[in-house]
């Protein structure tokens, strides 16, 4: 564990190598990226297993000394960090492998791998940071990586706009995080997590201040994790290449917000209001995004809204004091959502469209992708015995015990929606008749299916580390040795919750099957009865339009006003000054006519004048 700092270093090396030699390596860049992330993965696994038996390892050194204050940097390997290291490096490695097939033939292949390396470095650095400031630095770095990768196809207007949108919207959240961080520093005189928690425990920080800082930091998490009202960037981020969507916008970066709340959990749990805010925002986002996902027709957008919804689920779990539930779902979600995205990428790779209306009947043609997609769909829908079932059950139990009954109902309805839209997607893509133009449909190369198979296995078995039946190994381990967290460990929910959750999921699947599988119920049954509702959902509740009309319009108004001031006032003054100087110069340059005789005359006149003055004053100026 002493050398855990090497883990983020491998992808950084990959980034640097590809930056320098990428053009020459061309498609061989993939091997550089894959091998170095494999090194990270192996090391993370070692660290994870080491952490099972050994205590938390922290090391730091003085980075800056300002007066009496020592700003430190270093790294920390606690349970949460070790788990995150494993998840991030695993998904990153698989995505690196997958991209070798998916990005094959792309002109900027090596650039893509360089960006992937940069992002992986930043994300791994983020999860081992021992203090808030270091976290913040890496937090911004992952933002940069995300920006570069969303805008990878920068010649497409939509991709450019989406990259900018993602960057600006997460920045809005980051302002909150920054202010919260500064306030915490002001109150506790430290950026270290341990010092902050100690100060909060000792009651050095007033209750209002805890609530305020926790909510401000949560705003940062809202931006990064795509929670309402800053969620709109995440679906647009799907303009990036699909492996990127799997890595960044499903499994790792967007989970950073959840990770931040989880790693600052002792701070949040000190304030009931802050926890409640997290839970309400999370619960609302879960159902809000799930309802939009019901009607979208772009395969990646459905998955994107599903991601937003699932992240809301995690927030809801954390806000209901279900620390283990939130982290557990983060892990299982990383696996099955990455699987779903990679499978979706495989489908897109095969049919060259993202519109599910143009797919259909792919089950027979994509012999591997189909079943793997089904596994992911089953897992996310919470079908029993798959990973999503256990983590979702944990969340529902946490919401029931720690939260509000309304939030519990919200979570349940969101689970129903999730099962419905995921199976709607599955039936539309894989069953029925082939629609659209599908001539050369072929299964993806094995370099792409291999990562999917690994993720498929994990999506099935990952849940068994924390079940009510075979022991709650993950939950016990996560809160081990930490009294503040121990109170928020595993929730032993009543059995009826599990049964209810199963029934709800199966109902959603059944309804989806009736409409899209068997087609015994007309597709217009729902949209026909609530035409307005359907339109509203299709337009994503008009949130984008609303922002366009309010915030964007106001900002534009202000900027026009400022531009007016700039052009007429500031520029007027500046132009006056330059005009004066220019006039002076023009007069001066007129004298420099290049006529040597004029110069001579001027010199003579000057000399004569001096002589006259000399004569008149008798040699002295008085």
């Amino acid at each position: 564990m002493e050398n855990a700092w090497l883990i983020p270093l491998f992808p950084l090396i990959s980034f640097l190598i590809l930056l320098l030699f990428g053009k020459r390596l061309k498609e061989a860049s993939a091997y550089v990226g894959i091998l170095l992330t494999l090194a990270s993965l192996i090391y993370s696994i070692l660290v994870l297993f080491e952490r099972f038996s050994e205590p938390t390892y922290v090391t730091k050194f003085d980075w800056l000394t300002i007066g009496d204050f020592h700003l430190t940097a270093g790294f920390e390997v606690n349970q949460l960090n070790a788990l995150m290291l494993f998840i991030v490096s695993l998904v990153s490695f698989l995505v690196h492998t997958y991209s070798k097939g998916y990005m094959h033939g792309d002109e900027r292949f090596h650039v893509f791998y360089a960006y992937l390396g940069l992002f992986t470095f930043a994300m791994l650095g983020l999860v081992i940071s021992p203090n808030l400031l270091q976290t913040y630095i890496f937090w911004e770095l992952v933002g940069v990586g995300s920006f570069l990768l969303i805008g990878f196809y920068f010649y497409k207007e939509e991709a450019k706009a989406a990259a900018k949108k993602a960057f600006i919207m997460t920045r809005i959240g980051d302002v909150g995080l920054f202010i919260g961080m500064a306030l915490l520093f002001w109150q506790t005189k430290s950026f270290e997590y341990s010092d902050i928690f100690a100060a909060v425990d000792a009651g050095q920080v007033s209750g209002t201040m805890i609530t305020l800082t926790a909510i401000l930091i949560f705003i940062g998490a809202v931006g990064k994790s795509g929670q309402f009202p800053l969620h709109t960037w995440l679906p647009d981020a799907m303009e990036g290449p699909t492996p990127v969507s799997a890595l960044i916008h499903a499994a790792t970066m967007v989970a950073a917000g959840v990770y931040l709340v989880a790693s600052l959990f002792p701070l949040f749990s000190a304030s009931h209001t802050a926890l409640m805010t997290v839970a309400v925002i999370g619960g609302f986002t879960a159902i809000f995004a799930a309802s939009i996902g019901l009607v979208q027709t772009d395969i990646k957008r459905v998955l994107a809204y599903s991601t937003v919804s699932q992240l809301g689920y995690m927030m809801l779990a954390l806000g209901s004091a279900g620390y283990v539930a939130g982290v557990f779902h983060l892990m299982t979600h990383a696996f099955f959502k990455a699987l779903l995205f990679l499978a979706a990428g495989s489908v897109i790779h095969a049919v060259h469209t993202q519109d599910i209306e143009e797919m259909g009947g792919l089950w027979k043609k994509l012999k591997l992708t189909g079943p793997l997609f089904l596994i992911g769909t089953l897992a996310i829908s919470g079908v029993p015995l798959l990973s999503g079932f256990f983590s979702k059950d944990e969340i529902l139990a946490a919401a029931w015990e720690g939260g509000h009954p309304v939030l519990f109902v919200l979570a349940l309805v969101a689970a129903f929606f999730t099962a419905f839209y995921m199976f709607r997607l599955f039936f539309m893509v894989f069953t029925g008749e082939a629609r659209g133009n599908q001539k050369h449909v072929h299964e993806s190369p094995s370099v792409m299916t291999f990562p999917m198979i690994i993720l498929g296995v994990l999506a099935v078995v990952a849940g068994y580390v924390n079940t009510p039946w075979f022991g709650t190994f993950l939950g016990d381990w996560l809160v081990d040795g930490n009294e503040a967290l121990a109170a928020h460990g595993h929730h032993e929910g009543p059995v009826w919750i599990m049964i209810l959750a199963t029934v709800v999921s199966l109902l959603g699947i059944y309804l989806a099957w009736l409409i899209y599988g068997k087609r015994s119920v007309s597709r217009n049954w729902l949209s026909g009865s609530g035409d307005m509702l359907h339109t509203v959902l299709l337009n994503k509740y008009y949130v984008d339009e609303f922002y366009q009309l309010t915030i964007v319009a106001i900002t534009k108004g202000i900027s026009y006003f400022l531009r007016f001031i700039d052009t007429f006032l500031v520029e007027g003054i500046v132009k006056g000054i330059t005009g004066f100087v220019q006039g002076l110069g023009a007069t001066g340059s007129k004298m420099q006519s290049g006529q040597v005789q004029t110069y001579g005359a001027v010199a003579f006149i000057g000399l004569a004048l001096l002589a006259v003055i000399y004569a008149l004053t008798g040699g002295y100026l008085r």
């Binding site: 420099q592 006519s593 290049g594 006529q595 040597v596 005789q597 001579g600 005359a601 003579f604």
Partner: protein
């Protein structure tokens, strides 16, 4: 021998200098300008010689100095003319008001 007063020499030098100056500042032909400059130099030489004879402390230094000035002026005239010819070859003119490449 000297019934001519110093002021007469000085007046001659002054007149010669003024003619030279006038020529140097007004003539368009560069050859004339160069000749005018020679006039001015000679006016100075007359001054030097005058003061070496009628000055506060008469000595031979002034005359020697004048000889030096004459020889240097000869060299200078040669160089000046050489430059002028070079200029004439590139510009096809000897008019001094057209030689204004220092502008801009």
């Amino acid at each position: 021998m000297s019934s001519v007063p110093a002021s007469a020499f000085l007046a001659l030098a002054l007149i010669l200098f003024c003619i030279g100056l006038y020529g140097a500042l007004t003539k368009r032909n560069t050859v004339i300008v160069l000749i005018s400059i020679e006039l001015m130099l000679n006016a100075v030489n007359i001054n030097l010689v005058t003061f070496s004879k009628y000055g506060m402390a008469p000595s031979i230094t002034g005359q020697i100095f004048a000889l030096f000035a004459i020889s240097v002026a000869a060299a200078e005239a040669a160089v000046g003319l050489a430059i002028l010819i070079a200029l004439y070859r590139t510009k096809k003119t000897v008019n001094i008001d057209e030689m204004d490449t220092m502008k801009n």
